[in-house]
Symmetry: C2
Subunit: 393 residues, 2 copies
């Protein structure tokens, strides 16, 4: 289901997303779940547990996609959750706690400048001011909600009480190459990396590429090139820190003009906030040294900051023991990408199960996970729920 | 005279340029010169010499500008030539040879993808195929010529016979910071640098900035950054070689995506073709080593190649002796920018006189040359013509 012919684009609150929500809701009801759609568009299908009033284990992910997306990011986690609930029903296993299959709204944040919208609304951490954010056409988020039959006034009512959620399990494609590189089908996410994003402005002096001798130049791009290498180097010594310059623009940008100004971004991520903070401080002084030596202006503007989220040791342990029962190897890794689990961590323990994906490719039509790996993920989810239920007090 | 209100834009064959040509032509005639406009738009004002049938010394530059230009580039050289002829008349000095004040058409090459159009037409080195080149609106050069009352069919008739030109003297602002840096008003151009331009394509692998560990990356921008520094380094040891990366584009260019592809330009210039060729070969092997080490694809595409032009020793010597007579210091330098003199060098000896400009700024409204420096340039031109006339056999 796509908003565009020929490629997959399922933006939250758009026609294809509404259709997908309706389809999955129907499947949930066929599976005997009681469904509801909250005010922001989070779809929840619930089966009560053996013990009345027990909290719910949430399992799921999201149904929205980026533009020209792959078929696995998000939707795989929702369908695995639904399949796990169906499988438990087939085995006539009813956990002590309630189970909720969740499809969060707007994980990707493509249309409006805000992401994890549904999961943050459920966690009660979403600032209602986001309702005033506008898309490219000037439509507000509140208007988009209304247009798809939802109720922006009910936003605060999306928040769940911490006591009613036992935990959240999210299965998701890895979106990276680590599991494939190591020949392992599944990985347990031990933490979701914290991130810092900066915009860096380097100011030199433009000039004619033919007439200004090298010694009289203040070339903003040559300086920025040294800085790009400093960013790369800042992550070289650390196992889990990653550092990226993804965007870089040169002004004026003519073949025969010495660049007068360069603007680039830095994206730093680590599962350890202290490691990220230290790397950032070191990097800042490296960039300042480069700018000073080359007589360049330098400005660093923070544009995003999110702390790391550790996955819950007890949930991770249950996932690990489920794998042992199934004869699968243990492998823990860090999620460098953000996920709904990050938001839900504010109100409940969370853990994630990563599924190997081909070439580490994601947000692309070439995104692929093998059926056998998906089956293994389903088995682990089912076994984990069984284990958690056995131990639930 | 400008095509645009509020800024100076005088594109060849446009209304402001036509008006400027008419004005200067009028001034030439007031000065007693016989004027003609050739088929491509070169304006020539001629005064015969004392000796009938003697060849002409050409003095001048161009009247067209870039978009949002300064007031000195090109036009200064035309007006200095006219003023020199007027000054000689005032002093009642009539050289043995003929004098021609020349205003070349289309030095800048802004509207059509070809530059030095008028001077190359006069040198007989302009491929008539340029008449088919189109501007952004699809108008051909031939149509543009016709629209301004010129005759594209006469293009080959613009070529002058080598024997009828004694030499060409061009005064021009330096368009660089060297004279100002050294506190000298005027410089003699000993050579116009040759140039090589390349487009470089670096191919890595795009990926998620959070999920791909540093050791598994093939980051096209980190590789390109090393290459930019190699380009800069290639010119560091050489006094007169300059090397510039003026344009650099990153794809896909998102803050959270490892760059998969980078495209950048290299502009290499030197007054010594051998030096440039050697630097290019060294640079090529540096870039190949970087690409190999980082497992990146690399493609170098030449986009421009022009050999250096040496100025004529006899004309340079006359200019230098004129300066000595006027008590001015000798200073020789290289022109890193291209000029009409480059084209005329194909059929006659050429030399250039550079006038200091403020901050080395050119192609910008802030372009400026001091009146005292311009007066000095006029005196040198007049004295040089007197000297050449004294020695003319």
């Amino acid at each position: 289901m796509s908003d565009e012919p020929g490629r997959l684009t399922r933006l939250t609150w758009g026609p294809a997303w509404c259709e997908a929500v309706g389809l999955v809701r129907g499947w949930m009801e066929e599976a005997g779940l009681a469904t509801r759609l909250d005010a922001v568009g989070n779809l929840v299908g619930r089966r009560e547990g053996r013990r009345p009033g027990a909290p719910a284990l949430l399992v799921g992910s999201h149904l929205d996609t980026v533009i020209d997306a792959g078929r696995f990011d998000g939707v795989l986690g929702v369908l695995l959750a639904l399949a796990a609930v169906e499988e438990l029903a087939v085995r006539e296993k009813r956990p002590a706690f309630a189970l909720e299959v969740v499809a969060f709204a707007d994980e990707e944040g493509v249309r409006f400048p805000c992401a994890l919208t549904g999961s943050r609304a459920m966690a009660g951490t979403l600032d209602p001011a986001v309702l005033g954010l506008t898309d490219r056409d000037g439509t507000t988020l509140a208007e988009a909600l209304r247009a798809s039959g939802l109720d922006p006034d009910g936003l605060t009512g999306c928040a769940r009480k911490p006591g009613e959620i036992l935990g959240f399990l999210e299965a998701h494609i890895e979106q990276g190459p680590v599991l494939e590189h190591e020949g392992v089908a599944l990985g347990l996410v031990r933490a979701i990396a914290g991130a810092t994003r900066l915009e860096v402005l380097v100011e030199g002096r433009a000039g004619h590429a033919g007439t200004v001798p090298m010694r009289l130049r203040r070339d903003a791009l040559a300086g920025a090139a040294e800085m790009v290498l400093a960013v790369e180097r800042s992550a070289r010594g650390e196992a889990e820190l990653v550092a990226t310059v993804g965007r870089l623009e040169v002004l004026p940008g003519a073949v025969n003009t010495i660049p007068g100004r360069v603007r680039f971004t830095i994206d730093l991520r680590s599962p350890e906030d202290r490691e990220r903070t230290r790397a950032l401080a070191d990097l800042r002084s490296d960039l300042e040294e480069i700018a000073r030596r080359r007589r360049l202006g330098l400005r660093l503007v923070p544009i995003h900051e999110a702390p790391a989220v550790a996955c819950d040791p007890a949930l991770l342990d249950a996932l690990a023991r489920a794998r042992v029962r199934l004869g699968l190897p243990d492998r823990r890794l860090v999620s460098g990408a953000g996920h709904d689990a990050m938001a839900i961590a504010a109100i409940a323990p969370v853990a994630m199960l990563f599924v190997r994906c081909r070439g580490g490719i994601s947000h692309d039509p070439a995104e692929h996970a093998a059926p056998a790996d998906i089956e293994a993920a389903l088995a682990v989810l089912v076994e984990t729920i069984v284990l958690l239920s056995e131990e639930f007090r």
